[in-house]
Amino acid sequence: MINSSIDNLISQIDDGALIALPAEYSFVPMDVVRGLIAAQAKDLHLLCVPIGGLATDMLIGARCIETLEAAAVSLGEAGAAPRFSEVVVNGEINMLDATCPAIHSSLQASEKGVPFMPLGGVIGSDLVVHRKDWQVIDDPLGKGNGRILLLPAIKPDFALFHAPLADRDGNVWVGKRRELFTMAHASAHSLVTVERIQNECLLDDDLYAAGTIPSMYITAIAEAKNGAWPLGLAGSYGRDNAAIAEYARAAKTQTGFEAWMQTHLAGKLKCDAGVGA
């Protein structure tokens, strides 16, 4: 559904759903994350593709997450992810530690409709000891390649991401952020927010087509101006480092986190923060 609303997107995500979110170098749908928190989403299984940041930390602090799979969670230059660090130590969420290429490969398995994908390396890491769903097998081709790790396919219920541009046919332009193609291909549904929806079909222009996820993978699109704030959207606007640093300080305690979220979920405060498009 083109021209849906963020509320409509949120309403499709049942408690307990397996959701996939991109890393901060990609296009994070912060308005959707705020919407999930406002709607008090529960028991979500969050797959970070492959690294979590602000969005993951907020969802953890807001008690939306039951299981977290990630290769790492960090606020980048703003330091450790405060809610993540505390909640994981307290054992309050089911943490599935992974490594970046394992998450990419597990999604590629779903993208290809195969039950697993092989990945080099990793054997000997304690990750393998703790990931009961991962399997090491002997060289199945018998070509002297040795043991290899097999990763089961991960099929998210929902891929959630933000993008600069969509069209009225439901195609979404993400440019070189190809992990979003993989996420959309691998997931049952993709719920997308965009800065702008244009009339001209993106697939009719060779330059845009190369970076466009076709509508067959997209379940619903909602317009969300500055929808990645306070993260940046490459080519559109930068990170709001001050806001992120403020979050990092406030969220050092659960009380501080809750106060910060309350302020920032109320009204359209993010617009007052002076984000330039």
Partner: protein, 246 residues
């Protein structure tokens, strides 16, 4: 000569290690400003053919196939050098990026293993970078192996540890003996101090030396040419170390 900061000293030292014919392509993580600066400095110094890819960076980032491309690229054997940190590193070159104490509870949690469990196997020259040279970081045995320093014969492995660099010392990993060998010590420090602050057994190279101070030309190049191009990817670091705004 102006005072040389700790960061500038490390950047220049690492940069020299990167200037070797084996290394044609260095990839650097978005959270690694010192290695990033070192790689760009090596390129600027005397190695214009050196390819430097800063993952997810706003500059020097050639990747166009999404988040998996770095790992695919390493798997193809196209990356010669990469940097890994560690909240703990042990004498067998195992690294821990996950947490202290018994996993999964842990007493202190760090971000996680990132791509280390893969990159350590695929990149021939992995530089380990210790943010602090102490027996708390350089431990006898890591609490969690994010990525192992060596592998048995029945596991395909083209990559592994080459150097361990800290503010105090440069050590080389001997893959046959599976131990670190001290190559050089930072000016003003002693071999004894390094041994004492290293929580595992090391070998001392017969020709152990003092790590060279940055040369004037290196520092000049770093400030004039490298720092500005670094600013968009590592703004906080560049502002703090070089006083340059993105």
């Amino acid at each position: 000569m102006e005072t040389v900061s700790r960061e500038e000293f490390l950047i220049c030292a690492i940069s020299r290690l990167l200037c070797t014919p084996d290394i044609c392509h260095v990839a650097v993580g978005a959270a690694s400003p010192i290695p990033g600066a070192a790689a760009l400095l090596a390129q600027a110094t005397d190695n214009p053919q050196l390819r430097v890819s800063i993952i997810h960076g706003d500059t020097n980032n050639p990747f166009t196939d999404g988040g998996r491309e770095l790992f695919d690229c390493a798997g193809q054997g196209r990356i010669d050098a990469f940097f890994l940190g560690g909240v703990q590193i042990d004498g067998a070159a195992n690294i821990n990026l996950v947490g202290l104490g018994k996993y999964p509870e842990t007493t202190r949690r760090f971000p996680g293993s990132f791509g280390s469990a893969y990159m350590y196997f695929t990149v021939p020259n992995v530089f380990l970078f210790a943010h602090e040279h102490s027996a708390r970081v350089l431990v006898p045995r890591v609490d969690f192996i994010s990525a192992p320093g060596s592998s048995p014969d029945d596991v395909a492995r083209k990559g592994g540890p080459k150097y361990l660099v800290s503010n105090l010392a440069i050590m080389e990993f001997d893959r046959a003996k599976k131990l670190f060998r001290l190559l050089s010590v930072a000016p003003g420090h002693s071999v004894e101090e390094v041994v004492e602050k290293t929580g595992f057994e090391i070998e001392i190279a017969p020709d152990v030396s003092t790590t060279s101070e940055p040369e004037v030309e290196q520092l000049e190049l770093l400030k004039r040419k490298v720092a500005p191009s670094l600013a968009r990817t590592y703004p906080a670091f560049t502002l703090r170390v070089f006083g340059i705004n993105a």
